[in-house]
């Protein structure tokens, strides 16, 4: 076990969500790579992934040092031995982390930390302000057949996420609207609860023209396909607002799912030193604030919430810093679950969600 990080190997390869690692190519102001490269000599290469599944696929391919995995991918990567525990002592900023996240179950197994937290945030309800004069209070606008305030039906104008993990969004909605099902955790569903959730999703299929698969496509769909309401990420909201689109977002009363992402270290990392240097760099308040501002997420280092020029002082609150407890963070559904013994595992979610989308 090394006691300090050695010299950089000259490069580091990262799998990341789009918008997570920027070098000022889109907007000069948003650049948290160039300085790092200058300081460490580690050239950063980024491969973006649109879904957690894609991330897992990429990591299975190998060749990467780090991955900004969400909760539904992280444990799979741990189980698949694609990532390894890190030595927190080699990441000096570890101590500055938000306490709520330090031992998050989505990256801590048997007391060992498989990476450093990066950002977190809710899956918001994004809507078109021309249609909704005020923010919808319930996810029912995307789940139940109804007419929108503009008098036209919602069918064909709402979207849902094209990923099995979206089953949890439906479960979250039912957890609030159908308490008799006894759902305690949207990621831990018994057969009974699971089939009720699937029923809801099958109904939703009739309303959804196309499921959204990646962020940019959804942005397009709101612009050119007449979509007015959907589960989304703050990133799309920011993008559309920057484009002067009539778009806003909200976290409805039922609560929301969300993600908490971890920069994890690949088992076969070719550049471990640069990887450690990046993890340390990624926790600096400047980076944390910049990412949060760009992506619309919440920093994992509270210190970033103050004094960041891009994020602004109210940024953390806007992005949901205080909603932490309302959010059901993505995690991989497993058969042996904590809340009720046996649950429907993720592989079933995959097949069944494909069936749901198949209509």
């Amino acid at each position: 076990q090394a006691t300090s990080v050695g010299p950089g190997e000259g490069a580091v390869n990262i799998v990341a969500w789009p918008g997570y690692i920027e070098r000022g190519e889109t907007d000069k102001a948003y650049d948290w790579v160039t300085d790092f490269e200058k300081a460490t000599g580690c050239k950063v290469s980024v491969k973006t992934a649109a879904t957690s599944d894609e991330m897992v696929t990429l990591m299975n391919q190998g060749g990467f040092d780090l991955v900004t995995a969400s909760g539904d991918a992280s444990l799979r990567l741990v189980a698949g031995k694609k990532v390894v525990p890190i030595d927190t002592a080699l990441v000096p900023s570890w101590s500055t982390l938000d306490d709520r996240l330090k031992d998050g179950a989505w990256f801590t197994v048997d007391g060992q930390h498989y990476g450093t937290p990066y950002q977190w945030g809710p899956n918001v309800l994004m809507y078109n302000t021309n249609v909704f004069k005020e923010a919808p209070k319930s996810w029912s606008v995307v789940f139940e057949k109804q007419d929108f305030p503009d008098g036209k039906p919602n069918a064909g104008r709402v979207q849902a996420y094209d990923g099995p993990i979206y089953i949890a969004d439906a479960a979250t909605y039912l957890m609030a609207t159908k308490p008799e099902l006894g759902i305690k955790d949207p990621y831990e569903l018994n057969e009974n609860q699971y089939s009720a959730v699937l029923e809801l999703l099958k109904g939703q299929r009739q309303l959804v023209g196309r499921y959204w698969h990646d962020a940019a496509v959804q942005v397009d769909d709101f612009k050119t396909e007449g979509v007015v309401a959907s589960s989304s990420w703050p990133f799309q909201v920011n993008t559309l607002q920057a484009d002067k689109q009539p778009i806003a977002s909200t976290v409805p009363d039922e609560g929301a799912t969300g993600w908490a992402d971890t920069t994890m270290l690949a088992a076969d990392a070719a550049h471990p030193n640069c990887a450690y240097l990046w993890m340390e760099h990624s926790l600096s308040p400047k980076v944390q604030g910049d990412v949060a501002a760009w992506f619309g997420s919440v920093p994992v280092v509270p210190a970033a919430c103050k004094g960041n020029a891009l994020l602004g002082d109210g940024g953390c609150a806007t992005n949901g810093f205080d909603n932490f407890s309302k959010i059901h963070f993505w995690k991989t559904p497993v058969a042996k679950c904590a809340s009720q013994g046996t649950c429907v595992p993720y592989s079933r979610w995959v097949t069944d969600y494909i069936a749901v989308m198949g209509g």
């Binding site: 190519e25 973006t48 649109a50 391919q61 190998g62 940019a216 942005v219 397009d220 050119t224 993008t239």
Partner: protein, 270 residues
């Protein structure tokens, strides 16, 4: 062959014209959008026109890197496919024992099976034998499904190249190698060129197989996939697409005239 007399019937001309519009219209869209001022997504009609994307594309190192990689992959894959395809075609046309059918099937398989199968199969083989992704893993995948186009062109030309040319050469003192170099090769050259062009095009544009064999390298189509999905500077992809079409226009035309003359030449012996 005599041309059919007069003009084509009206409905045929209309159907063909409609087909051509369908074929070329969308290309026009690509060209128009290379000039749009709208940066992140495309709306119709374009809000304005600008030339700036050409400069932007020119200055982006990732564009040039991807183009260079794609050119290299396509070139190497084409050369391999040309060698293997020609060998295969020559063997089949020379031999009475190896069924052309069997070889044809083997050669056609990689293109007749969907790319995702080729991709995943190669990927799982790389994984099994712990072969790391590299330039050569991409080339391997591409060359595999490019062999068929070279093979088909070469086999057709071999069939048309009269056996008596080969015998005439041997009769005049050339052994197998000399005959290949001085008679067979020049005669199938235009067919190989046509096959090679098509192989190059297939490789240069292949996304699906590459997705599984590229690891972290970025060929032009992979760059485009990434670029089209990411909402920044989408017109750049259209600029690149426009550039590729423009750059290939002349070679395509040249190949057309070359292979057309080739037919005349090949038929001249009889």
């Amino acid at each position: 062959m005599r041309s059919e007399d007069g003009r084509a019937p009206l409905f045929l001309r209309l159907a063909a014209a409609g087909g051509l519009v369908y074929l070329l219209g969308p290309l026009l869209i690509i060209f128009v959008y290379a000039f749009t001022t709208e940066e992140r997504s495309f709306v119709w009609p374009p809000p304005g026109l600008t030339l700036k994307w050409f400069a932007v594309a020119w200055n982006r190192p990732d564009v040039t890197a991807a183009i260079v990689l794609s050119l290299q992959v396509a070139a190497v894959a084409t050369v391999i496919a040309m060698v293997l395809g020609t060998l295969c075609a020559a063997a089949v046309s020379r031999s009475r024992f190896f069924g052309r059918e069997t070889i044809s099937l083997l050669v056609i398989l990689p293109i007749a099976l969907p790319g995702i199968i080729t991709g995943i199969a190669l990927r799982s083989a790389f994984a099994t034998f712990e072969i790391p992704f590299s330039f050569w893993t991409i080339v391997l995948g591409h060359a595999t499904f490019c062999i068929v186009v070279v093979y088909n062109n070469a086999v057709a030309r071999f069939r048309r190249t009269s056996q008596s040319l080969v015998e005439a050469s041997m009769d005049l003192g050339a052994d197998g190698f000399q005959t290949f170099r001085h008679v067979i090769l020049p005669n199938i050259a235009t067919a190989l060129l046509a096959g090679g062009m098509l192989a190059f095009a297939l490789s240069f544009d292949e996304v699906i197989v590459t997705t599984f064999t590229a690891g972290q390298q970025q060929t032009l189509p992979l760059w485009m996939l990434e670029e089209l999905i990411r909402p920044r500077q989408r017109p750049v992809t259209n600029v690149v697409a426009l550039f590729v079409v423009a750059a290939t226009f002349l070679p395509i035309l040249a190949a057309f005239y070359l292979t057309r003359d080739g037919e005349h030449v090949a038929g001249a012996g009889k």
